[in-house]
């Protein structure tokens, strides 16, 4: 097990390197830091100020290889970026000069407060709904359910948010239309609406996916065996099929766990929740490349963590898989 994991982690090293190269090319070669400097210092800034800004951040160095006389060849933006990312020195926001590590630490909590409950509710609801539809499979209810799921998937998340905000926050005054602060139990009032909407927006897809997974299990031979044993349809579904289906589902779900921390791009911005999603959208809007590329990089790392978790999870829940 340990050696397997080490091998997996080693395998990720070239991938991380690839990600770093891609982000570097996208953010440094194609977009010039000079434009960024203008953005930060304001349109009225003088060229010296810009040169100064670039110099202070090392953006005036050559891109890949330093060919200037007297300089070491690795004294370049690329090498410095690689080094910084590899050592988790996330640097400072181009826009505010704040420590990115600190921004991410602060943003993670609100994001998790939205995503974790949505994830739990969403998971439970979709699991039950999927089991229900599988239980009544091939009936009118099932067909209706599938169409409903697809319909829910076909609505962009913005429409959910626009409608939810309008209905609950504007028309009824039950919940705050906007805003967020951490303060014990009363934080909940800010979470209710985003959590509901986030759950709803993902529900259709999840139910449909879980339903497909369970349906596939339903056609397995062992289901026939169980029926022939005299096991009731409910027990067949909720014990035999559920346990088998859960293997696929849990591994899928585990892979998405690390992403909970990123939060929701659209939702957080609409509700003014200062999470990582909001941070990212804002960075995109203000061309804060330091933050955007860190998000890309961290997102990639999270994905790889997800893959690793999936492997571990498989080993944990599927008796058929044992690491050699």
């Amino acid at each position: 097990m340990a050696s397997y994991l080490i091998r997996r982690i080693l395998y990720m090293v070239p991938i991380i390197f690839g990600v770093m190269v891609i982000t570097f090319v996208l953010f440094f070669v194609v977009q010039s830091p000079t434009a960024m400097a203008k953005r930060i210092l304001g349109p009225k800034a003088k060229p010296e100020a810009i040169q100064n800004w670039l110099h202070n951040r090392g953006y005036d160095k050559p891109r890949f290889i330093n060919t200037q006389p007297g300089a070491t060849w690795w004294d370049s933006q690329f090498v410095h970026q690689m080094k910084a990312l590899a050592t988790f020195d996330l640097g400072y926001s181009d826009a505010t000069g704040e420590s990115i590590a600190r921004m991410f630490r602060q943003g993670a909590i609100p994001s998790l407060l939205i995503t974790v409950p949505s994830f739990i509710f969403g998971f439970l609801i979709s699991l039950s709904a999927a089991l229900f539809f599988v239980f009544v499979r091939d009936s009118r209810t099932d067909l209706f359910g599938v169409i409903l799921c697809v319909a829910m998937m076909s609505i962009p998340i913005q429409v959910y948010v626009i409608f939810g905000q309008w209905l609950i926050a504007v028309k009824t005054s039950y919940l705050p239309a906007f805003g967020f602060y951490l303060s014990g139990a009363s934080t909940i009032k800010f979470l209710v609406l985003p959590v509901i909407l986030y759950t709803l927006a993902d529900l259709g897809g999840e139910v449909r996916l879980y339903r497909t997974i369970f349906l596939e299990e339903i056609h397995q031979e062992y289901v026939k065996t169980a029926q022939a044993k005299g096991v009731s349809p409910a027990r067949v579904l909720f014990v035999h099929v559920l346990k088998n289906g859960m293997i696929s589902i849990i591994t899928l779900v585990v892979a998405s766990l690390p992403f909970l921390i990123i939060g929701s791009l659209v939702l957080e911005n609409f509700f003014g929740i200062p999470g990582l999603g909001n941070l990212t959208v804002n960075a995109i809007r203000t061309s804060d490349f330091a933050v955007v590329r860190t998000t890309v990089y961290l997102g990639s790392l999270l994905y790889l963590v997800g893959l690793l978790l999936t492997d571990i999870c498989y080993a944990a829940v599927d008796p058929r898989i044992r690491f050699q």
Binding site: K224, K229, K243, R320
Partner: protein, 279 residues
């Protein structure tokens, strides 16, 4: 009264591609303690017949169009869900073709057998002892280890023994073995067939053996039913059908039998190896 009597059973399949008459007006019976073989090529409707005995054929796409399935004199087609669940496993038990997929991969062998016992034999006090007992009965040498194993940790022959153990766990009156050896190595096939024969003697249950293999039939069956395109085209005592087939289909089928002798020779040569793999 026969243990099982099927009268004029008709089953139709309705799919997007049209309707198929899977079982077309068949009648037969199985007496207590008797072994009956249902023979036919694939697609002849024999599996559907077997499954329909406890209404395991899913509806839709299947449709029971008519006839009766009398088990101990009661019509299975009129059973409630509750009665059906008692019938299945409790009275009629099944052994399927492919043991590797027919066992639930994520439950231990113990749990799978225990489930059957819990469902039909509430009176059993020591379930664990009973499981060991049954596993021993089907010839598993290290029942304690097998009990705690997951199906994939067992060899094909062992898996099929577990299937049989599971079927026998509730002392059924009728064991329906749906091509129980097709998926197995030739060497294991013989072992499983021997096991079935012994068990039938020991437990005195009736066996309905579904197969396309006449070699098995001649070894095991008292009577033979030959099925072709959903109809029973010939039936009678085994020796009579084998040696004096009346229906041309039966004659054609018999012509395809592999030489029994050669099979047995190979069987003896590979036996040790297979045993070694099993333990």
């Amino acid at each position: 009264m026969s243990l099982l009597e099927v009268r004029n059973l008709r089953i139709q399949f309705v799919t997007e591609e049209g309707e198929t008459q899977a079982v077309d007006d068949i009648s037969f019976f199985v007496d207590s303690g008797e072994t009956v073989a249902l023979v036919g090529e694939s697609g002849s409707g024999k599996s559907v017949t077997a499954l329909s005995l406890s209404r395991l054929v899913p509806t839709p796409p299947a449709r029971y169009q008519g006839g009766q399935i009398l088990f101990e004199g009661k019509d299975v087609l009129q059973f409630s869900k509750r009665q059906l669940q008692d019938l299945r496993g409790g009275k009629i038990a099944y052994v399927f073709q492919e043991p590797s997929t027919s066992l639930n991969p994520v439950f231990r062998v113990r749990n799978q057998i225990a489930e059957a016992i819990h469902l039909h034999r509430r009176d059993v006090q020591d379930v664990r002892a009973e499981i060991l007992n049954i596993l021993d009965l089907v010839g598993i040498r290290d029942p304690i280890r097998a009990m705690e194993a997951y199906p994939h940790q067992l060899s094909g022959g062992m898996q099929q023994r577990v299937m049989i153990a599971m079927a026998l766990a509730c002392r059924p009156k009728l064991l329906v073995a749906d091509e129980p050896t097709t998926a197995l190595d030739v060497t294991i096939q013989a072992q499983i067939l021997n096991l079935l024969r012994e068990l039938r003697k020991k437990l005195g249950m009736a066996v309905l053996l579904i197969t396309h293999n006449f070699a098995i039939v001649s070894n095991l069956a008292d009577r033979v039913l030959v099925m072709y395109r959903g109809k029973i085209v010939e039936q009678g005592p085994t020796q009579e059908v084998l040696h004096h087939p009346k229906h041309p289909y039966t004659q054609a089928l018999l012509a395809c039998i592999p030489k029994i002798g050669s099979m047995e020779r190979r069987l003896t040569t590979i036996d040790h190896e297979a045993l070694a793999r099993m333990s």
